[in-house]
């Protein structure tokens, strides 16, 4: 029999927006399989272990491509994580200056590279206010200029679980000839995206969050219509191709993939995506399940936890990510008690998203964040609600 939720024998993990845990066993097995049976450098040599490693990486490329409706797996560029991928897209697209437009719900992984380029000179950044957590596409359009080169949109907030109207913004960007980069760190494997239909040019994804792969995996997807000649590489070096030249190759994905890839991680990532495909209703099923868990938690917390204060409207929470405060308590204290007394792992503070917290009125104190994954259950949420009831009563008792 399994131990009850929240005992020292069974911790509760509500920090899936940071990285999902646990990983499916198939992911662990795939990493071990690469490390023990294959081990070659993908794409560097002609021997069997190198070919096997190359095939594993290629399978991961195909899995990512098919998840996003991309036909050509060459249009998947592997990076170390979503931040690495976003830096490639942002710095690559704005390498010789220009104007960029973004939302007020961004994570530091997009706003920091944008502000850094602005500080260096040559790049201007417009942040479109996003009252209540959602940007109005009409406001976004008003911010576009004739020299706007890039639109950067956080698909779903890592702190509040709110989704931006990517389709409407994408339609505007297509009409105005602006390249749209979507930060899908929180939505890959959770909200279905089809790059054949959805008007997005570049998607950045994390492999270790909603795709259930190991840390150290992530990347970019380029739509079929996007001319990658516009995007300068961030790194230059060995690719295992065109080795007779001292210049970087100009073809995908080698142009952007210098250095040995994280083949062990990508082996796991491929297994993680296959795991998602194996679930009933796949990505859509995960989305519905997370929405259901979030609604279940919110309804009970509102009813039973004194001083429970979530800044986001419940109807906007899409991705199983909820930030909240308990009136009169520091978020870090709440998180400490949850971990120390109840074995519940969550994250307090600003979640690397000061701008989003400012937009939602929780800056600078931040909030407590629960982020659910496919392995979380309503029993665990019930236990967490009881824990929060006790913690909020502690505050009442002084």
């Amino acid at each position: 029999m399994n131990p009850p939720a929240g005992t020292p024998d069974k911790l509760i993990y509500f920090d899936n927006a940071a990285t999902t845990f646990p990983k499916p066993q198939a992911v662990v097995d795939a990493v071990v399989d690469y490390m023990t049976r294959i081990g070659g450098n993908p794409g560097r040599s002609g021997h069997q272990l190198s070919i096997d490693a190359g095939e594993i990486v290629f399978s991961a490329r195909e899995a990512v491509a098919s998840l996003f409706g991309v036909t050509n797996p060459m249009r998947v560029i592997f990076c170390s994580n979503a931040t690495d991928a976003l830096n490639l897209a942002i710095q690559g697209m704005l390498h010789d200056g220009g104007h960029a437009v973004t939302t007020a719900m961004e994570h530091n992984s997009t706003i920091r590279p944008l502000r850094e380029l602005e500080r260096r000179g040559g790049v201007e950044v417009t942040v479109v206010p996003s009252p209540g957590g959602v940007v109005d596409p009409a406001d976004f359009e008003k911010a576009l200029r004739s020299d706007t080169r890039l639109a950067v949109v956080n698909h779903a907030s890592n702190a509040f679980g709110i989704i931006q109207p990517l389709g409407a913004i994408g339609d505007i960007c297509r009409r105005r000839g602006v390249v749209l980069l979507a930060d899908c760190a929180q939505t890959a494997g959770l909200v279905p995206i089809d790059m054949k239909k959805d008007p997005v040019d570049i998607i950045a994804f994390a492999g270790h969050k909603g795709l259930y792969g190991p840390t150290g995996t992530g990347g970019l997807l380029l739509s079929e219509g996007f001319d990658h000649g516009m995007m300068r590489p961030l790194k230059y070096g060995g690719t295992g191709s065109s080795s007779d030249s001292v210049y970087q190759p100009d073809f995908l994905p080698d142009m952007y993939e210098s250095g040995t890839l994280n083949a062990a991680g990508l082996s796991g990532l491929c297994a993680g995506i296959k795991y998602i495909f194996s679930l009933q209703e796949g990505v859509r099923g995960i989305h519905l399940r997370k929405k259901d868990l979030a609604a279940y938690f919110l309804a009970r917390a509102e009813e039973r936890v004194r001083g429970f204060d979530p800044p986001a409207s419940a109807s906007l929470v899409e991705t199983g990510v909820i930030s909240f405060n308990i009136e009169g308590m520091e978020p870090s204290d709440v998180a400490y008690h949850l971990s120390d007394r109840y074995n519940i792992m969550c994250r307090a503070g600003l979640h690397c998203a000061p701008m989003a917290h400012r937009t939602m009125g929780t800056f600078p104190e931040g909030a407590v964040r629960f982020s659910f994954g496919v392995f979380n259950t309503k029993d665990e949420i019930d236990y967490a609600i009881s824990a929060l009831e006790e913690i909020s009563a502690m505050k009442e008792a002084g």
Partner: protein, 75 residues
């Protein structure tokens, strides 16, 4: 015994492209094998696709527009 020259190899610029091409051949049901680039053939990509010589034109038609396609040479 199969004679050496009864095969051709298809060369691409990169391993990724070779694997993409292999997938296309697999989908089309064209017999092939992913092999290390033979020593006598100059290419810096580590792998290539070996096909039967009788399939050369068919393979060329199928793969010529795949990015990175370089050439088909006798083995």
């Amino acid at each position: 015994m199969i004679l050496q020259n009864s095969y051709r190899v298809v060369l691409f610029k990169s391993v990724n492209q070779t694997m993409w091409a292999e997938k296309i051949l697999r989908e089309k049901g064209i017999p092939h094998k992913l092999i290390p680039v033979p020593r006598q053939i100059s290419s810096d990509c580590g792998v290539c696709l070996r096909v039967e010589s009788g399939q050369e034109e068919h393979v060329r038609n199928v793969l010529v527009n795949v990015e990175g396609f370089m050439e088909i040479v006798p083995l």
